[in-house]
């Protein structure tokens, strides 16, 4: 602990907003030694990213940094640095990787030029040396075929490849400190694992200090030496990673560690009637290919011959990486998307050719909960209006009083207070909004609910609450779920049967424990490994 590279003391940041000043970070202190990985853990809004931006001197214009804030890097006080001196430091001795590899690269420049720019703004190199240096870096981050990649634009690469380019840019000038702000959150699980192991290899090679900001405890456990737990702008616990996980002191840390999804689904009655049945669904998108005058059309099968049937009380999980067609399949099963071929039956009634008007009587029995609770609730309506809408359009409930009782029951089911009914969605947190979205679905007393990644936009501890809630509701109302997810831990805790999808096709299907404990295909094995095993 003698050789501290970065030491921050009493960092406080507040933001001026229309409704006064909000304290985002209060009195945060931590330090990182050379070659060490420090994980900063906390849920959204805990101030972990704001602290990192304060170190980099990259706060928003309405931020106020507290007077006692001290940031010492390699023996120098960064709070006294001018903007020009900070520019000299950023990208050179301290560099940063951001969460969103889609937006942090400039779409109109070649990736090689973008990496070269970082180098040439801090070092003078000849043109050919510069290019050789860029290719060396791209090789170092294990990007296949780096010479060809040099001339590619960001949109020609996958998310994982772009994140590798971001890492190459961060490493360009051999920094002493690397700040990685949720570097793997936007990536698929298998890619996540690759990126994390790459970071680990590079850290050891360059003897860098790394501050890893994340909300994912699996990531923390697998890569960090020490951990700092933040909540509401304050550090609540710190220590060596192993100690903190084995013996958490603070209630909040215990709460976080316990919030990994647990448990198994209730046993399923094999004789229960089939509620929803999709046979050999094929969904095709037609794209125009070639130049302006060529009338060539290319068919892209987003879903190709996928079948799924769900019994009463059953939860079927569909897992796969992004682009595997799982959401497209789910949406067309409940007729919110088009289907070109195949049969869909709901209680023996064929529904794949019904018009929107003919579907209307069935709508209350088939419901959906969307991924993003921030866009699935109309911001101009109060919660009562949102919940009432389905009752009104379907003429459910004889009168206003009866409808009110139904809404109150639904609110009780999702454990939200009745006072929430008179308020607008923006006044609630992500987890609360997802409860409201679930309430909107169950107030109609449906038999089948499509859950489209209902927990992926939420913090871990909230995720666990929503999973518990869904399990309780299934038991109470005998619901059937189609659960779309990329998170195998959640699937394990909730689903009876699982389908694994890749490129629009089913690669593996069967009872969840069988698929997860004994995966047959290489693709499933990779998914399972990434989700349940700590990276080597």
């Amino acid at each position: 602990m003698t050789d501290q590279l970065l030491k921050i003391d009493n960092v406080a940041v507040s933001f001026r907003t229309s409704s006064g000043t909000t304290e985002a970070v209060k009195d945060v202190s931590y330090s990182v030694a050379k070659g060490e990985t420090l994980a900063v853990v906390g849920e959204s809004g805990s101030g972990k990213s704001v602290t990192a931006r304060a170190i980099m001197g990259m706060l928003a214009p309405n931020a106020i940094v507290g007077e006692d804030t001290a940031i010492e890097f390699d023996g120098k006080d960064l709070t006294k640095f001018s903007e020009i001196e900070m520019q000299e430091l950023r990208g050179n001795r301290i560099s940063m990787i951001f969460q969103e590899p889609l937006t942090s690269l400039n779409p109109v420049h070649k990736v090689g030029d973008q990496v070269a720019e970082i180098i040439s703004s801090h070092r003078r190199l000849s043109k050919s040396d510069l290019k050789a240096e860029v290719i060396r870096l791209l090789t170092e981050v294990q990007l296949p075929n780096p010479e060809a990649r040099y001339a590619q634009y960001p949109h020609e690469m996958s998310g994982g490849q772009r994140q590798r380019v971001m890492i190459a840019m961060a490493l360009a000038n051999d920094p002493d400190l690397l700040i990685a702000d949720e570097p793997t959150t936007a990536l698929d699980v298998t890619v996540q694992a690759e990126i994390l192991s790459l970071l680990k290899v590079l850290q050891a090679k360059h003897h860098m200090a790394v501050i890893l900001i994340t909300h994912d405890l699996t990531v923390v456990q697998s890569v960090s030496d020490r951990v700092v737990v933040m909540r509401r702008g304050e550090v609540v616990e710190r220590g060596a990673t192993a100690d903190v996980f084995e013996n958490p002191q603070h209630d909040y840390t215990k709460h976080l560690i316990n919030s990994e999804p647990k448990g198994l689904p209730d046993p399923l009655d094999d004789n229960a009637p089939i509620v929803m049945d999709g046979k050999d669904l094929r969904i095709v998108f037609t794209l125009r290919s070639g130049g302006f005058f060529s009338g060539k059309k290319v068919e892209l099968a987003a879903v190709d011959g996928v079948s799924a049937s769900i019994r009463r009380g059953e939860t079927l999980g569909i897992v796969g990486e992004s682009g595997s067609g799982k959401t497209t399949f789910g949406m067309s099963l409940i007729r919110l998307g088009e289907t070109q071929e195949g049969e869909i039956s709901f209680h023996d009634k064929r529904i794949e050719r019904l018009s929107r008007n003919e579907m209307r009587p069935l709508r209350p029995r088939i419901q959906v909960v969307f991924q993003d609770p921030f866009s699935s609730l109309n911001p101009r309506m109060i919660v009562r209006q949102i919940l009432e809408e389905g009752l009104v359009v379907n003429n459910l409930g004889a009168n206003a009083a009866e409808r009110r009782d139904m809404i109150h029951t639904a609110m009780d089911d999702v454990q939200m207070p009745h006072s929430a009914l008179e308020r607008f969605p923006h006044e609630f947190s992500g987890g609360q909004r997802q409860r409201l979205a679930i309430a909107r679905a169950i107030v109609l007393k449906p038999e089948f609910i499509l859950l489209d990644e209902p927990t992926s936009a939420l913090d871990l501890s909230i995720q666990a609450q929503i999973i518990d809630l869904l399990r309780d509701l299934r038991r109470k109302h005998g619901l059937s779920y189609l659960f779309i997810s990329h998170d195998l831990k959640v699937v394990k805790a909730l689903c009876h049967n699982t389908i694994v999808m890749q490129h629009g096709k089913v690669v593996e299907a069967g009872p969840t424990d069988k698929v997860l404990s004994n995966p047959e295909t290489a693709y499933t094995q990779r998914l399972v490994k990434a989700a349940f095993e700590v990276v080597a």
Binding site: S18, V368, E389, R423, F424, E427
Partner: protein, 372 residues
């Protein structure tokens, strides 16, 4: 675990819950420029509504003793330097011996004290007749604060009366263009497909009209002696025809974006009809855009109206608007002899600035992503 979530909720309970419009009002009140625009707009509407009371004379009243009489300024300081009841000075008419032009020289002997809330010509408001005016000369002596035109009509009175037609024109055109633009834009964006293609081609056709020749053509179509009301309606229709297309196109883009947002798909999933989705989910989300568009369009219409009436193509006498008044200063001689006839320009500038400021303020206040 649920207890954590609920305890946070109880904390928030204490905060007063604000609706979107309450937030907008609060943010708008803090915007000084916007507030100034709002006050200016209120002032202009006040003038237009109570024009009979505020204007000293009717629009057609002639003072044959004062042709091209210059503005009379209000004095409150006496010749001795003491403060006195406000008065204006009458004129001595003199003829220039060289040019034979009449000149008006204020004369200290002809003091005309002002009489507030005085009885004068009758005016009607909502079918009732009144004869009180805000300010007149004592004992019916004529006063002209902004001078008179070549027929001896009071410029201030005419400008105040003219505000009515100008504003009515602005509001009618704005409202009609709003209704057409919103309906067409939402239809086009929501239904898409062939409907959308046809509507968009129509919009492009409308947008490709050269507008000035179209206005001039109006003059050619109508008989010279057509009823001024007919011309007013035709004129307004042509302005509407050219204004709605922009709004329709902007709204179409916004509707297409919002149509695929999950709360709209959730409404489809609970079985809502198209009508309900349009009126309950899509239209309210468009309201802020439409309101801002409207406050920007009103000053545009005022400017267009005055420009065309100035050319003599717009509103026709005996109707008066600010543009019609400016029509009198078309020739440079009249302008050189009586520059006060440009007074309506001041009214136009004031109203255009006010409405634009109001629009700016509203746009900032309604932007949900602004954080001051």
């Amino acid at each position: 675990m649920a207890s954590v979530d609920l305890s946070m909720n109880a904390e928030e309970e204490a905060k007063h819950s604000l609706t979107y419009w309450q937030l907008v009002r609060r943010r708008f009140r803090r915007n000084r420029y916007g507030m100034a625009g709002f006050i200016g707009c209120c002032f202009i509407f006040f003038i237009a509504i109570f024009s009979g009371f505020l204007a000293p004379y009717s629009a057609g009243t002639r003072d044959s003793a004062a042709l091209f009489s210059p503005p009379q300024s209000i004095h409150i300081i006496d010749v001795d330097g003491g403060i006195t009841w406000p008065y204006v000075l009458g004129f001595d008419e003199q003829m220039d011996p060289v040019t034979f032009a009449f000149t008006f020289v204020p004369s200290e002997e002809k003091k005309i004290p002002l009489d507030f809330f005085a009885r004068g010509e009758t005016w009607s408001f909502l079918g009732m007749e009144f004869d009180r005016h805000f300010v007149l000369g004592e004992n019916g002596q004529p006063v002209h604060f902004l001078g008179t035109d070549g027929l001896g009509r009071d410029v201030l009175s005419r400008a105040i009366h003219g505000s009515r037609i100008t504003l009515i024109m602005g509001l009618v055109v704005m409202a009609a263009a709003c209704i057409i633009g919103t309906t067409v834009g939402i239809t086009s964006g929501y239904f898409g497909g062939l409907t959308d293609t046809i509507i968009q081609r129509i919009i492009e056709f409308v947008k490709s009209f050269p507008d000035l020749p179209l206005y001039l053509a109006l003059l050619a179509i109508l008989p010279r002696r057509a009823d001024p009301m007919t011309i007013f309606i035709m004129f307004a229709s042509i302005l509407v025809l050219l204004q709605w297309a922009d709004l329709a196109r902007e709204l179409r883009g916004k509707v297409i974006a919002i149509r695929s947002v999950e709360f709209v798909r959730a409404a489809v999933a609970v079985g809502a009809t198209d009508k309900r989705i349009i009126f309950r989910h899509i239209a309210p989300s468009m309201s802020s855009h439409v309101i801002v568009w409207a406050t920007y369009t009103l000053p545009n219409v005022i400017l267009l109206e005055s420009f065309l009436s100035f050319l003599g193509v717009g509103i026709q006498a005996p109707m008066i608007s600010w543009g019609v008044m400016l029509n009198q200063v078309r020739d440079f001689q009249a302008l050189a002899a009586a520059p006060w006839l440009l007074a309506p320009v001041g009214f136009i500038i004031l109203s255009v600035l006010s409405f634009n400021a109001l629009g700016d303020g509203l746009r900032d206040a309604m932007d949900p992503y602004s954080n001051d």
